[in-house]
Symmetry: C2
């Protein structure tokens, strides 16, 4: 035989994979998240990894947006002559798939449709710390026909708080920041800033409030306000910009937010500018009421769990009311680990139904990678086995097998040793794999590898000590 050429494989940038012990921690996280989501009655769905490119484009993609640049499309390595197939793209989020799924199966679903979805998504962006090209998202959304009660807007952060705060090994304080887009947008409109383009320009800048310097932001906003309101000089625009920034920088606990906002409105007569335009008043008013209601419903959460933060507006323009972001308290610069919001019209591109919804998405891989690097994930063995049954001699293989089967029948996870080598070597294997108990079938005894205690036991009845 000729000598083989060896191709030494290396990690693919942006496509993480874990060693078995890390994978165990990841599985424990998924189990915990799934179980918490289900404890609130969310059902699981899973969509294909791909959507038709036509489906994605129907959602308003113009082929040149930021998201589009990140999309991976599939090509057959060796395309057959005459293949005429729809172009398929790996999904880059779980919202497009949810919208498509809800429209496609509309008649078979029960509304309000409460679903969770834990899948990989793909984005071809340049990998960097905590940013992957293939990563998991864990989403919950509630969709209803025509109207969706505001209570669901309050359920989302409650579920997320419960989920994240009890993740095994979670070693960082985090806070869910909540706002309602109607407030800032309604306020801008009440100032007379009605142009969609100007509003987007301002909200996108406000959204980056923590990353930009105050001065720099002021300069940008002054320019927008001048042009939006036909103001000639910066001095006249400045007080308006300051008002916008004051509002955007409002942060308050659930019990304080309502009072603060009402006070802000009363203190400033800016609303008067828009005169008798009741519709504009009502947007701002609605936003304040909705946010106050949501925060009020969350007052049972521990102090600091949630905060009203008017700077949160979310870049994505399909959000129409409540919006959420979740930051590490000690390192907000890591970015949001869990975001979402309320949208008025989930699937209008795919079905002639009005389907409002509210949802939130955990950036699982970003979060897991962070906690993994912190070194606080619970350390368990490589092997999931509770116990390893040794093989004292080849003659005792039937006894070993029988012991293992009895232990399994009693609900234990069991590894067996495969060859009758020295017992020391067998025990070493159990230690290396982190198996907490070793069973000696010839002695009818089991040894706790941590305490080194060895006791008589019956396979049919034995269970490991939970600690």
């Amino acid at each position: 035989m000729s000598k083989k050429r060896i191709y030494k494989p290396k990690p693919i940038s942006g496509f993480p994979e874990w060693l078995p012990e890390e994978r165990r921690a990841e599985q424990a996280w998924f189990d915990h998240i799934r179980s918490t989501f289900e404890s609130y009655g969310f059902c699981s769905i899973e969509t294909p990894s791909v959507e038709e490119l036509d489906t994605i484009n129907a959602k308003g993609g113009d082929g040149e947006s930021d998201a589009d640049k990140e999309i991976y499309v599939l090509e057959r390595l060796h395309k057959q002559e005459g293949d005429k197939e729809a172009r398929l793209a790996l999904h880059f989020d779980q919202t497009v798939p949810l919208a498509r799924y809800t429209a496609q199966h509309f008649n078979e679903l029960v509304f309000p449709f409460k679903r969770y979805q834990i899948q990989r998504v793909w984005r071809g962006e340049r990998p960097q710390a905590g940013r992957f090209r293939e990563f998991y998202q864990c989403d919950i959304d509630v969709i209803n026909v025509d109207k969706l009660p505001l209570h669901f807007d309050a359920e989302m952060p409650a579920v997320i708080w419960e989920t994240l705060s009890s993740l095994p090994g979670m070693s960082e304080k985090f806070q869910i920041r909540i706002s309602n887009r109607k407030i800032l947008i309604g306020f801008l409109e009440s100032l007379g800033i009605n142009n969609q383009h100007d509003i987007i320009h301002i909200t996108r800048n406000v959204d980056k409030i923590e990353k930009q310097g105050q001065k720099e932001l002021e300069v940008t906003l002054i320019a927008v306000v001048k042009s939006a309101l036909n103001i000639d000089n910066a001095e006249e625009a400045l007080p308006i910009v300051k008002l916008i920034l004051e509002l955007a920088q409002t942060k308050a606990s659930p019990s304080e937010i309502s009072g603060l906002l009402r006070d802000f409105i009363t203190r400033n007569d800016v609303i008067a500018r828009s005169g008798s335009d009741a519709a504009i008043h009502s947007t701002l008013q609605e936003g304040i009421e909705e946010l106050s209601f949501v925060m009020d419903q969350l007052s049972h959460l521990p102090e600091g769990a949630v905060v009203a933060d008017l700077a949160i507006v979310r870049g994505l323009d399909y959000y129409t009311g409540t919006v959420y972001e979740t930051m590490f308290v000690d390192d907000p610069s890591y970015g949001s680990i869990c975001s979402g919001g309320r949208y008025d019209d989930l699937a209008g591109h795919y079905i002639n139904k009005h389907l409002p919804g509210v949802g939130i998405s955990i950036g699982f891989s970003r979060l897991f990678e962070r906690i993994r690097k912190n070194g606080t994930l619970p350390v368990k063995g490589i092997s999931p086995a509770d116990v390893m049954v040794v093989l004292p001699s080849e003659e005792q293989r039937p006894l070993m097998m029988e012991t293992a089967q009895s232990l399994r029948a009693n609900g234990n996870k069991v590894e067996t040793f495969h060859s009758p080598t020295k017992i020391d070597k067998q025990i070493k294997y159990a230690l290396k794999k982190g198996i907490p108990y070793v069973w000696f079938p010839d002695l009818g005894e089991v040894k706790n590898m941590e305490t080194r205690e060895q006791v008589s036991a019956t396979p049919k009845e034995w269970k490991p000590n939970e600690n």
Copy 2:
């Protein structure tokens, strides 16, 4: 606003997705499979969805094999100027990823490395009944350095039997067919058929024994045997072909196979043809011993669970010993739902180590689709909730929330009703979602929706009846 154009989404051929109630059954299957795999000490790994094309090609792909035609490669929809990235392909099985993973993390793994892997794989083949383009495989493999005891070859079908036979809703009898490639190949060599090309030609035809007519197969084999052994006429080749077919058509229970094979060898003096070539004798001999050993270890399984079937050779040429296929007893034409075998050299293309292994792979989606169509999957509700708490009136929302939280704290899955509409409507929602209990927080009572029994209960203590 302008009227929106609606793009009505449709299913993508070969990329299945399920309704929530079907998805619940699928999750139950995954849970069951995972738990059985872990009960034998297999640890979980997950690899990225992609491998570098170079990694796949290193494995001997010549760009024109059957598998290559099925490979999907990724392209960025809008490739950036100057992007120079390795070409990535979605994996088409879990064996290439396992080989790459084992080589890449060799120094961090503990051997024997027993891993399971439950992931999607992708193949661009034409979709047909039970053949998808995106589907799940559930694999177990054991890899060791230099030598891997034969006991693991027997553990594989034992695990698979336990896994498949107790899947919820499994409505078809199946049988694991086992052979050892050394027997047929050793026998051919003992007949003087030593050419690799001839051997592959014969084994691939024997592999299709059930799909081809006996006569047709005879004609094909006569041609090969004539050319391989330099025989001029068909009459002389026929008895040899008949011997090959007799051997290939040998089927026997675990207790019978050893005797049958020894008898076959004794009855036929064909071995003598190869004269004193002990190496050839030994391949055949080894095969018989290995298969006898494996079958012997499986004698504790129920009658008919496994069968020795010498026609099983597996098309894939990397198998070197034991091979497995699993067929529906009443419909073998559906093809194998679970296959695998022993390989001598898992990762020789990626690392200069000798890594023998044995593994088996459940074609999950094929199997699930079959049982789903049979209509025997356990029917559970759309919602995972055990109980729904009604909302008698808006004033009672705090009581409802508190009740729900107490029920959750006690380990229950709880849905709440969102608005204080008529109780009838609320109950109807619970029925539609298949939630088995409804809780009336104002009455402190819970109703079993099946038996219609309604009793007093305390949220902190209540658990649903398991039935």
